[in-house]
Amino acid sequence: MLNTFREFFVYRALIQALVMRDLKARYRGSMLGLLWTLLNPLLHMGIYALVFSVYLRMQMELYVVFLLCGLLPWIWLSSSLSMGATAIIEGGGLLKKVFFPPQILPAATVTANFVNFLLGIPILCVFLLLYDVTVGWTLCLLPLIMVCQFAFTLGLTLLVAAASVHYRDIPHILGHLLTFWFFLCPIVYKSTQIPEQFRTVLSLNPFIPFIVAYQDILLYNTSPPWGGLAGMLCASALALLSGSLVFTHFRWSFVEEV
């Protein structure tokens, strides 16, 4: 399993090349091109703002900024998972002809979506300025959150990518699971709005601490709760461990199955 990680380093040039290709391919041929990277989260934000803020009259200050704080990391996670699920299957042609470690493919997907996430940060900054939100020293914690989320996302993507090769139903059901998961996360609502009796059960959702951390740091200028940070660390370590174990276990079967 350690070898799995060592190979990420050895093949970093390949990851880089694949990420570049992924990002370029995504918007090639479209008129707005790279602008879509910025437009996608904005459109998401617009839709949720319309439904929840205008139609359902949710009372919250800075609701648009709040949405954006949760949406950006969520899009990183969900796009990584849905694209990563088919990463091995689609990369099969290459995998059959050239030797390279297969974990490179999901890793490139996660990295490409991370770059997309980073490209979305400037929009967030514009909104923070627009609404005159003050951001403090807690910003130093942001890289830590991102590293954790990277590990968390990579672990889950490895898991889904490996499992999808053997169980082709997974990519089909994944979209629905992701929609469900989205509404279980405090992205369109505040975590404090969850009714008391559900909180203990829902606190098992491993992505809540991440979302809350982003919101605390970027919007509320407070440091995220220590419990949340600990949970985040545990979740990412666990995801990465299980993901890479499963992936390493199935690794040699991919080239025969795809």
């Binding site: 040039a13 390949l14 880089q16 090349a17 694949l18 290709r21 370029k24 391919a25 090639r28 041929g29 042609g93 290459l94 995998l95 059959k96 002809k97 050239v98 030797f99 390279f100 040699w252 080239v255 025969e256």
Partner: protein
């Protein structure tokens, strides 16, 4: 020094049989059965305990019929597959030319694809940049390098793939049947590049069905059959053995096919066969082709002796029966035909049954598949039993002459003037 060392390497695959009728129930049963069971019947053994070594700088040719395990072996050497049993040690950077342009993205330009493909093949970004011009020049694609590769012709695509692959600078080159790239000039370039590799002392493992290519390039040839090493040694010897093996196999298949037809002929007395007709007063019950030694055989070398034996049976008294034989090309062209009437052969009383043999002193036909027409009919042409193209045989030849029939000939060249000094 050894570049490749393989020690009792075995590889098998799980059969992925697709059932024509999958029900919910059988799917569920399979779901549970699939995991633990690696029962023998569900597996396909591709390689069975191969042991061999390749010295550094050696060119090893691998030959064998389709499905003999050649490509699987190359993929094992490339590290794409992992052997189930045994060990493979490879010394140096492996460049696998299993498929040219593997992983080219159709939407990307040649330039972008060269960069990615080069990195996939193990070069660093800087190395690709340094070699970029050489790659493009080699592929002869200077004018199209910024076009997306989806607009490339298949030749352009493969040229670019080959160019990147050879510039990836491997120590061990694995080649699977890809030297047929592009036009004459480019092919020559590929062979020149291969020769350059050879001069540089790189190890090359070459899989090909083109035996002439294998013989020309290899220092040693390995013949793989059904997942085991059948023979290994000097190219000439192994290739000759392989050819003999292929002919023996073809003979077996041809014999089996002939017997299958012969069985139908015997069963189908009621004239159900579309290429057999006649009133059955005299029938031809079996047709055999025998070689000089009297063995039944349906694959011949051009110029060999052969004998056609017709077994007949008389069911009713007939006046003046005539036996005939014709040899036809695959496209229906009559190569030769004759009968006992044309040649005024006096037939003795036929009795209840017997044989008619036609000795063909020399089968001077060019290489190809031929069909036999055999018939017994009345002198006026009224058919008793006519077998139209029911039987086939193959003629093999080393010569690549053309036409139908090789007229026995020799060449005499007589220069009349001496060369001016």
């Amino acid at each position: 020094m050894l570049a490749i060392e393989a020690e009792s390497v075995s590889k098998r695959f799980r059969r992925q049989t697709i059932q024509p009728h999958t029900t919910m129930k059988s799917a569920l049963v399979n779901l549970f059965r699939r995991r633990g069971s690696t029962a023998e019947e569900g597996m396909f053994q591709a390689l069975r305990g191969l042991t061999f070594t390749v010295r550094q700088g050696q060119v090893l040719g691998i030959i064998g019929r389709n499905g003999s395990g050649k490509s699987t072996l190359l993929k094992l050497l490339a590290g794409i597959y992992r052997p189930d049993r045994g060990k493979i040690r490879v010394c140096g950077r492996v460049g696998a030319l299993l498929e040219l342009g593997a992983g080219f993205h159709p939407e990307f330009s040649g330039r972008e694809n060269v960069l990615i493909n080069g990195i996939v093949l193990g070069l660093s970004k800087r190395e690709v940049r340094q070699r970029f011009d050489a790659i493009v020049r080699f592929a002869e694609l200077e004018a199209f390098i910024d076009e997306p590769v989806k607009t490339y012709s298949s030749g352009m695509y493969m040229r670019l793939g080959f160019a990147v692959a050879v510039h990836a600078d491997p120590d061990i080159l694995l080649i699977d049947e890809i030297l047929a790239v592009g036009d004459e000039t480019f092919q020559q370039k590929c062979f020149d590049q291969l020769a350059a590799f050879q001069r540089l002392g790189k190890t090359i493992v070459l899989v090909s069905h083109d035996l002439a290519t294998v013989e020309r390039w290899s220092d040693e040839v390995l013949w793989l059959d059904n997942g085991v090493i059948q023979e290994r040694g000097t190219p000439r010897r192994v290739i000759d053995l392989y050819r003999a093996g292929v002919v023996a196999q073809e003979e077996k298949v041809a014999l089996a096919e002939h017997h299958r037809i012969a069985d139908t002929v015997q069963e189908a007395t009621a004239m159900e066969m579309s290429n057999r007709w006649g009133n059955q007063e005299v029938t031809i019950v079996a047709v055999q082709l025998l070689d000089a030694a009297g063995e039944e055989r349906y694959v011949y070398r051009s110029g060999e002796q052969a004998r056609v034996v017709l077994h007949y049976r008389v069911h009713a008294q007939v006046e003046e029966p005539v036996f005939g034989l014709a040899i036809l090309c695959g496209d229906g062209l009559w190569c030769y035909g004759s009968n006992t009437d044309i040649e005024e052969i006096a037939l003795p009383p036929l009795g209840a049954e017997g044989t008619v043999e036609i000795f063909l002193e020399r089968l001077d036909l060019i290489a190809g598949t031929y069909f036999l027409n055999v018939a017994v009919h009345a002198r006026n042409g009224y058919p008793y039993d006519y077998h139209h193209q029911l039987y086939a045989f193959t003629v093999k030849s080393e010569l690549r002459d053309v036409g139908v029939f090789r007229i026995p000939h020799r060449w005499v060249i007589k220069p009349l003037l001496s060369v001016p000094q």
